[in-house]
Symmetry: C2
Subunit: 161 residues, 2 copies
């Protein structure tokens, strides 16, 4: 029996985010899931997101990494509390810092693969590393710190709710 992938973003109702929101119809609509201890995102671009002809814009790559790791931080926090993504309280994360090192051009015409790993979870903070792969090669490496900006048990009325 084939298990369907359980995408983190399917558990974020009302998410209007340009990168990861299911409720943003003009956005990148990324999907992230666990594969062992890594979170994976496979994404296909469109011509408008190029930086040079046939090459993905570096800012869009940063956006993909940013949203993939924020959703990963959420999933990792729930996992650390031994609860599923539909359980309460609801957590949401925003980027504290992101650092991206671009190693080579990322093709805009083939699927892009992101793989993130949790390095540390400490209170409201989740530290992650993430790589981007294109056409079999690693094209970028990133370090990201996510900060929990919403906890439904205490942040009612927050802009991040």
């Amino acid at each position: 029996m084939i298990k369907e992938k359980d995408y983190f973003q399917d558990h974020m109702p009302g998410n209007v985010c340009f990168g990861c929101g299911r409720s943003n119809h003009d956005g990148l609509k990324i999907s992230s899931y666990w594969e062992g201890d890594e979170s994976v995102c496979i994404w296909e671009s469109q011509e408008k997101y190029q930086g040079w002809k046939g090459i993905l814009n570096g800012g869009i790559l940063a956006t993909l990494i940013d949203c993939h790791t924020m959703c990963t931080a959420m999933a990792a926090a729930y996992q650390a509390e031994n609860r599923d993504l539909e359980s309460q309280p609801v957590y949401r994360y925003a980027t504290g810092t992101i650092s991206v090192k671009y190693l080579k051009p990322t093709l805009n015409t083939k699927p892009i693969e992101l793989r993130a790993k949790i390095k540390e979870i400490k209170g409201r903070k989740v530290v992650m590393s993430c790589i981007a792969k294109s056409d079999g090669a690693i094209t970028a490496e990133a370090e990201v710190i996510a900060i929990r900006v919403f906890d439904s048990s205490k942040d009612e009325g927050s802009i991040f709710g």
Copy 2:
């Protein structure tokens, strides 16, 4: 007599980049100019670029900073060679590394202002700092390293041409 702003991007014909390309009609179409020793970009968002309701997506902010600093690197390199932006050879820059620290939410409903400064120009490398301002407050700080990836005097046929 009022001097019109001389936007860096007006001197990049055929630029299809999502962030800074005049030839990308679905892109962010930023405009950058010198104000003293700082390069400035004022940009107005659209609803689709939000991260949360009314708040700019962090990846789009990184994209703005990325493209603003890459165009600034080009302008600074020409300036360092005492020549104008229409002169030869043509240089283009791509991001080596970008690090963004998010200090507070950036409003998606008011103009966003970026201010970049050159820290170092060394061979093909330009190191810059950049801040983002929203509604009077600094909302993000970035450090960016740009690498010259195209020099029309020797890189004919390059994907970055």
